[in-house]
């Protein structure tokens, strides 16, 4: 058999199987980049949606790998929800290109960047380049760490789910109203608990907690990484330790996926408490919902500042 005939036969078989790819499904199939988005989609969508999150909560969403199984998920999805602001820039474009799902190409109905309407912090101005480390040109992308922004994300999700599945719009709206009620009650509680600690100064490892501290009225005075994403220089660490001792900084905020060696050293030498915190839902045991995440973060901060007030910091 000639090569040409062989190839024609192969293409024919391929065509026969094509129909298998277009099976319809009743639920909306949603893929989110992060677990925080997934929990919000599940809250709004309820039984009308099936959600899959690409990045587990214990992982740094900057550095997820573009595994082919994710391509398959996106290929079969009705909606892709992303954080945006270049958080997923290393891996998401490859997945979208590989997925060949025209509905999910940015700009189409199946693609939702949840940052719409968010007040983005730390949008750089002036000259930026890579000698300054991993600067996000579009601003700090960790905006889900302010619960008010979570509400805004939930609203965007409600709008988009409703336009994709108008028959369930009332359900989505009811779920949003219920979620807003629950979240706003808790926000008031968290803000009340953290009120005594307004204006407290802390140090962070990476530029990751700005939305949280901005919301709670805390102040990050310095970072262990002097340039985002770049291992700190010994001189910077020495200066930082001196500064933290002088200012009696009570807490060092650090994502739990950071190698603990350097932050542990800094904490030991300064007496600050090292808080290894989950930046996302499912990032720790018992953190299953968006509300759980903030309950955990607020409790950790509250305990640290209370211990500090009792003189428990500089043992």
């Amino acid at each position: 058999m000639s090569t040409a005939k062989r190839t024609v036969r192969l293409i024919a078989w391929t065509t026969v199987f094509l129909g298998m790819g277009t099976a319809a499904h009743a639920q909306l199939n949603v893929v989110t980049t992060t677990s925080d988005l997934a929990t919000l989609v599940q809250t709004i969508g309820g039984d009308a949606v099936e959600v899959y999150s690409i990045v587990p909560g214990v992982q740094d969403p900057h550095y997820t790998e573009a595994k082919p199984s994710y391509i398959r998920r996106i290929n079969r999805a009705d909606l892709l929800v992303t954080i945006g602001l270049d958080l997923e820039v290393v891996w998401l474009p490859l997945l979208i290109n590989g997925a060949r799902n025209p509905a999910l190409v940015p700009g189409n109905q199946g693609y939702l960047e949840a940052s719409q309407g968010i007040r983005v912090l730390e949008v750089p101005s002036g000259h930026i380049d890579r000698s300054q480390g991993d600067i996000h040109p579009a601003g700090n992308p960790h905006y889900w760490l302010n619960p008010h922004n979570g509400l805004s994300i939930a609203e965007r999700i409600t709008e988009r789910l409703s336009s994709l599945s108008p028959k369930d719009a009332d359900l989505f709206q009811a779920n949003l109203t219920a979620f807003r009620g629950r979240l706003e009650t808790r926000i008031a509680d968290w803000e009340q608990r953290m009120l005594p600690f307004q204006g407290r100064e802390v140090v962070a490892y990476h530029k990751q907690w700005e939305y949280l501290t901005h919301w709670l009225g805390l102040k990050i005075i310095d970072y262990v990484e002097d340039k985002p994403g770049v291992p700190p220089s010994p001189r910077h660490i020495a200066n930082l330790i001196e500064r933290m001792k002088n200012k009696k900084i009570p807490a060092l905020l650090c994502a739990h996926f950071t190698p603990p060696k350097i932050p542990q050293q800094v904490a030991q030498k300064t007496g600050a408490k090292l808080l290894l915190l989950p930046p996302s839902v499912t990032g720790g045991s018992g953190i299953e919902t968006y509300i759980d995440l903030f309950e955990h973060l607020v409790t950790e901060l509250e305990n640290t500042f209370e211990e500090g007030a009792k003189g428990g910091v500089h043992e």
Binding site: M20, P56, V58, K67, V105, G117, V120, G126
Partner: protein, 412 residues
């Protein structure tokens, strides 16, 4: 010199385009209020090596047969690659890779390595790639040298797919199947000629340098008379997540095409490839990890009879095979220790042919990544090749890379 000028011209024009693009909206307060233009992403990657080998320089060129391999004692400009990509319109994305090299003799070369479009909007999991691009045979061939795990390309790739990697103008159709795991099927049709179509209507230059030939069979002019004179490609790639921390890619590939040792002689190459990676769920920037990459290839090459003034050869069939296995261990952030084992051999009287003899190469390597955009690598090669008088050669190479411009995606 004109080639050098045109290289500089392309680079300067590109830099000009880049400098006029806004990096991003610089004054926005809410994400919804502004837009940034992103018509074209540009990056430049530079790959150099330096080192020493106990082989003579002409032998280094034979042992390191890849076009981007270290070519001499001292320094080699392995590859300067200008990459451009962007959305063409709602239906296509475009991608171009222009490479610039300086040969061991100091001559400048500019090559259009790849320029192709990929469709965005075909239904039913279909995607077409068209233009001039690396044929997706196995794992390494379609990847650019700066993404490789070692300084040089595997012997089996050089022998069967050519020093530059197999790439010719053509198109391919890919289908992401609805099977319950990731299974992607690709079929393609390409030209079988051109200097980057080794094993087909072109061949690697052997040690003799007497004009193009394959294992002593001179290559003849062979025009495209029928569709059998084109190159046909097939690939089936599967990806399986055995656990959230372990992923395996398993592929099978095949090539069918004409070769130029006769009027109707043909070459077939089949191969299979594996990429297995373990990475804990909780990791720091992708570390630690262990990855295994392995390929095996078999080639059947029908060489035609040749009757000439100086030689008179009957037709014969050459069967070759080769394999490599790489193990990479990212033992701490920014560091990767690696080991590559290679074996290649062919049938018949192959012991004097540097492109078909029995060959074993062992290459331990250590890489350090200051950031995602730079790399420093050290590699040692222990090389046993039958055609060499003393059989064993040693080499030590250092490689460094830097990249600037658009952030590159990391293909799994």
């Amino acid at each position: 010199m004109p080639r050098f000028c045109s290289a500089m011209y392309v680079i300067l024009i590109s830099v000009g385009i880049f400098s006029t693009l806004p990096t991003a909206a610089q004054t926005r307060t809410t994400a919804a209020q502004t837009a940034s233009t992103q018509y074209i992403d540009i990056s430049l990657d530079a790959l150099f090596s330096a080192g020493w080998a106990d082989a003579k320089e002409e032998t280094i060129g034979v042992l390191e047969g890849g076009a981007h391999d270290p070519k001499k004692r001292g320094f080699t400009v392995q590859n300067i690659e200008l990459s451009l990509n962007g959305a063409v319109d709602p239906y296509f994305t475009g991608e171009a890779h222009l490479i610039y090299q300086i040969t061991p003799e100091g001559e400048s070369i500019l090559e259009v390595e790849e320029v192709f479009l990929t469709t965005l909007a075909l239904p039913a999991g279909l995607q077409v790639k068209a233009g001039h691009f690396f044929i997706e045979f196995g794992r390494l061939n379609p990847r650019h040298p700066h993404t490789w795990n070692f300084v040089d390309q595997p012997v089996v790739n050089t022998r069967m797919l050519g020093g530059d990697g197999l790439r010719t103008p053509g198109f391919r159709l890919s289908w992401l199947s609805p099977l319950p795991w990731y299974a992607d099927f690709k079929v393609g049709i390409h030209n079988a000629n051109g200097e980057t179509a080794s094993s087909f209507l072109s061949a690697l230059e052997g040690e003799e340098g007497e004009g193009p030939e394959f294992a002593g069979h001179p290559l003849i002019e062979r025009p495209v008379d029928s569709i059998d004179d084109l190159l046909y490609t097939f690939r089936w790639l599967n990806s399986l997540d055995f656990a959230e921390t372990i992923t395996a890619n398993l592929g099978a590939s095949a090539l069918w095409g004409p070769n130029a040792t006769g009027d109707d002689t043909r070459t077939e190459i089949v191969g299979s490839d594996l990429y297995l990676k373990w990475k804990p769920l909780q990791n720091y920037r992708g570390w630690p990890f262990v990855a295994v990459q392995s390929e095996v290839m078999f080639r059947r090459y029908e060489a035609g009879a040749f009757v000439g003034a100086e030689r008179n050869q009957g037709s014969e069939v050459f069967r070759d095979w080769g394999t490599y296995t790489e193990v990479m261990w990212g033992f701490k952030p920014r560091w990767v220790a690696a080991m590559r084992t290679e074996w290649a051999d062919g049938n018949g009287e192959n012991q004097d042919d540097p492109l078909r003899d029995r060959r074993l190469r062992l290459s331990p390597a250590m890489s350090w990544y200051p950031s995602e955009f730079s790399k420093l690598r050290f590699q040692f090669n222990y090389d046993r090749a039958e055609h060499l008088d003393d059989q064993t050669k040693l080499a030590f190479w250092m490689q460094y890379e830097f990249m600037f411009g658009a952030h590159p995606g990391h293909k799994f």
